[in-house]
Symmetry: none
Subunit: 411 residues, 2 copies
Amino acid sequence: MTAKKIVLLILDGISDRPCPALNGQTPLQAADTPNLDRIAKQGICGIMDTIAPGIRPGSDTAHLSLLGYPPHEYYTGRGPLEAEGTGIHMEHGMIGVRANYATIGPDGLISDRRAGRIHDTAKLSRAIEEGVDLSAFHVTCTFRSGAGHRAALALKGDGLGSAVTSNDPKSTGLAPPLIEPLTGSPGDSQTSSVLNEFVRQSSEILADHHINRERKREGLLPANIVLLRGAGQMGHFEPFSTRYGMQGSVISAAALITGIGRVVGLTPVQVPGITGSVTTNLSGKVTAICRELKSQEFVLANIKGSDEAGHDGDPIQKRDFISRIDTAIAPLLALEGTLLVVCGDHSTPCSIRDHSADPVPLAILGDGVRIDRVAHFNEIACAEGGLTRISGGSLMPILTDLVDRAHKYGA
Amino acid sequence: MTAKKIVLLILDGISDRPCPALNGQTPLQAADTPNLDRIAKQGICGIMDTIAPGIRPGSDTAHLSLLGYPPHEYYTGRGPLEAEGTGIHMEHGMIGVRANYATIGPDGLISDRRAGRIHDTAKLSRAIEEGVDLSAFHVTCTFRSGAGHRAALALKGDGLGSAVTSNDPKSTGLAPPLIEPLTGSPGDSQTSSVLNEFVRQSSEILADHHINRERKREGLLPANIVLLRGAGQMGHFEPFSTRYGMQGSVISAAALITGIGRVVGLTPVQVPGITGSVTTNLSGKVTAICRELKSQEFVLANIKGSDEAGHDGDPIQKRDFISRIDTAIAPLLALEGTLLVVCGDHSTPCSIRDHSADPVPLAILGDGVRIDRVAHFNEIACAEGGLTRISGGSLMPILTDLVDRAHKYGA
């Protein structure tokens, strides 16, 4: 028997280092994980450097690497990926920029970098997209809201560069600096001029917008300036379906991950109630995976809450959320003719509250895998598995081979 | 003590995936292998991606990689290697082409792609080599028989290309197409013209040959056309003896493997009764290895039958042939001062009846190796070995080091 479909379930930041609060165990070791352990026991395990040993991955570079798009070749900054994640179709050469709605006081200083954690900004973004006119620069722009205070800007025009600074002062009480080119290239200079003009015009639109007038009446901070960062030029991505011969979907609350899925041609799937945090709708996500498999050959699903708990430095919360993941994924173990692949994208140790380069655990369950002796899904046990230690760039070739879609090199 | 000689025993396609017919074991796990297990137990083990993780090797690219000639640098198609395997000395720049004797009917359609599984075609090949005249193209040709209906053609001439199509229609009942250039380069165009003229002249020679007249009288299919495929240009191979400081031999029933050995300068050894199948003369091969070691420092031996059983999708036959291999190799365990290296070149899972990228098991027995805790030679057990997971390109450097022929890098 050979499996024909693949579920790649990425437990974001799941792996960790020994935590004193857990008697020296990692949150994954300490969690109650009968289902993850069954995947490990009935499948093949290993550990994985999603980029390379000792390289601390971002979620973006890690996911690109795991999908088989080497980040040193394909990663051009977070902007274009976030823009795709908000639903903007980024064409090759367009500039994508991350945006935050923020609050600036009458003194010209930033008073809140998230505009009082504003959300539901779609109307504001539409007003900006419709009102801003960059025709003097022969540039058109698209501006879309993401989750919460987040948004993304895309610029289309000839010869635009992406090596520019940000107008985000990074802390409150400071004035937003002008955006400046980082090189002497005319394209970077042009982009910085365009972005400064975008900030100027969008600020005028926001200053007078009825939503901001209402927010002020209600004692809320107005979203009266857009902070821009992470500009990058959209690259050329060979479609996933061309590269692997499989059609696929992406399921994630994070615009960044959805955007990465979109740029490689995976279809984004909406799931109600997913939040990208420990409060997310886990069972809704699992139901969506099972539903997508009826029509797709590949499903990428990301569960983000474990990463968040790591960033918060909270091993108890991380452990408990992992136990909840374990309960929620039970239906995936009953899938037939499907490889179930579970791994992290990077470690997020509670002790450092950020990503680390510690390898992530990996388990593959399904027809054809060589079943090793590993019986637990955690950082230590998986290191004794039959896959030994692989790099993230090897994952898709290995999976493609297991589902018998690989091509022979030679005869 | 340091071993001075190396036997590299390649069990072609030996590794597999769990087989339902063997209660979830692989044929290698299910076979009776006290000798292979002793090599594992008294040696060091690991698993190996002969090319790279997830890359499905051909036998040709795998053997090149294992001998330390990276296929992406050295592999130019199977033609030149097969030509060497038939005994043609391929010089750098010559074009090698695989050939099959086939039967074409009076209607111009191919009726049998193997000419009734003809064998002993040496006289036909000699008649073709002597009769075909390509001097109008300033080209000379050599044509030699291989095993069964197989043969190989070599062309020598200035500026010949190798990117050309085949005249093999791939199924019976179709007319052989003309060979065409795959690019606009004059060299490819020249080669396709030469090959079409070769087919035309050789067909005339075959039509009238007394062997074919006799075959017809006996009710056998005539070998009256040559089908050509796999054209490639001979590259430049640094000799094995220069690269590693060892003289060596190659023992294989497969012309392809013999050819690979020859192109790197290994001496081919004839062994009576070897067939490249499960009926081969295993003990004759083992005797030849022991004899070659008296004068050579390196012996490459390939046993093909396990691959054939995998291609046939027959786990029982594969298991039983592996047990027979195990019995036959007993004399190799008594070799002194010699590293005995046993591995696959690729996996050939019965479930997919073709090569896969699953890593192969590897064991090295001999003076100086670090003995690990692995006690069985199979896909699962070897993954826990002291070599962990290596790539095929690392094998010869590791072996060269073990026999103390490596050079220090630095001081």
